[in-house]
């Protein structure tokens, strides 16, 4: 799937072509994004809007505040739950998963 990016803009020049494209997976599906952009932005441009399912009422949640404050975009990234995907940079090979419920913390290594 091609990403939905804004290309022609009267004021801004995003220079998407100069950015480094990396591969990552979302719930096992391979996707592409730019290195360093927020994980949430990469997902959104790939058409993914549901980032987690709430523990009690099982409501879908996604992007909301984009400044790391509201906890709406928590996901499991490389096994770590409750990652604020709006302020976490995308890296090559990241394993991003929908978070269902509270997320389980692994004991310290």
């Amino acid at each position: 799937m091609t990403r939905k990016m804004i290309k022609d803009h009267p004021i801004l020049n995003f220079e998407h072509e100069k950015k480094k494209v990396v591969k990552f997976t979302f719930d096992g599906r391979e996707m592409e994004g730019f290195e360093g952009e927020p994980i949430a932005a990469a997902l959104h441009s790939n058409g993914v809007q549901v980032y987690r399912i709430t523990p009690k009422h099982e409501r879908t949640r996604g992007f909301f505040c984009a400044i790391g404050k509201c906890s709406s975009c928590f996901m499991i990234v490389d096994g770590v739950p409750n990652v604020r995907t709006c302020v976490t940079a995308l890296e090559a090979g990241m394993k991003v998963e929908t978070q269902t419920g509270m997320g389980i913390l692994k004991p310290e290594k």
């Binding site: 004021i11 952009e37 927020p38 932005a41 709006c86």
Partner: protein
Amino acid sequence: MKTTEILVVGGGPAGLSAAIEAASLGCDVVLMDSDLKLGGQLIKQTHKFFGSREEFAGTRGFEIGNLLFDEVEKYKKEGKLEIFSNTTVTGYYKEDGIVSYTIGEETYDLIKPQRIVMATGAQEKRIAFPNNDLPGVYGAGAVQTLMNVYGVAPGEKVLMIGAGNIGLIVSYQLMQAGVKVAGIVEAMPRIGGYWVHAAKIRRLGVPIYLQHTITEALGDKVIEGAVIQEIDNTFKLVGEPMKIDCDTICMAIGLTPTCELLWSAGCEMKFVPQLCGYVARRDAMMRTSHPDIWVAGDAAGIEEASAAMVEGRIAGLAAAASLKPEGCQMLKEKSTDYLKRLENLRAGETGAKIRCGLEQVCCECWG
């Protein structure tokens, strides 16, 4: 444990300005910002700013940001300013003045600063309606982040809630990005924002529904539409519900100061409607009731970037001068000019609300 003379929390226009001034007096400054990029709300603004020439009126927001970054770079090179981005300050412990923070999601650490400038900006307000938690309901700041910083369209057709300046400006920006705006919903009988912004929107044929509110968002897992309805002067629903076809609902109903850290520090706080929430009491130099803590920008009351930058400069300078006696003369000279600039920004009819708010929280000087 890490130490510093000055810690600036928040790297928006207020925090950057504070850090620049404090470093210019020779202080060692650490600035922490939770976002991946510095600049706060300022770097998302593509329109030309209002205000006075000293405060870059006529320049686009993100370009003003670049000017600040140049100054920041200079002090970084001189080794006076250390920047931590993607670093969230999570607590202030008043027993010993220690500040806790996390870098990214997993690295937790502590720092002990001698002085702190809190420039944490603001958070979006929300309103209650069924399904307001579904993906597709986004804050205006978030919509701007997606489209203006990262070049990602937030959706195909957006319903804007709120016809204040933010609602109007973001609607226009959406259209510049090639996104359709289904309409703008405003509870008040008149447009709250500046007329120039409203006129641009109207010319493009976007309906502005005055005295209307959103009663429901439609959709199962994500937004598939919205229902709006007319309200009367007492905000009671009248008329028939109307279905709006949209895949995104953008909330531009206002901001409220981010003030948790000020509360934890025990600063005297007051609820001031004109400043949009709880704010710290402060003196003219932006010092709070806590002698080591200053405040600046939207965190001190919702205003504009122009005022945020001047407040930041004052706070940074004053915090630094409290550590460097030789800086007091500089503070005296510069602050006269800065205070004058603030007065100009807040003059006239448009500044009346802010002036009224400030009267309720500003004190001459802490004894």
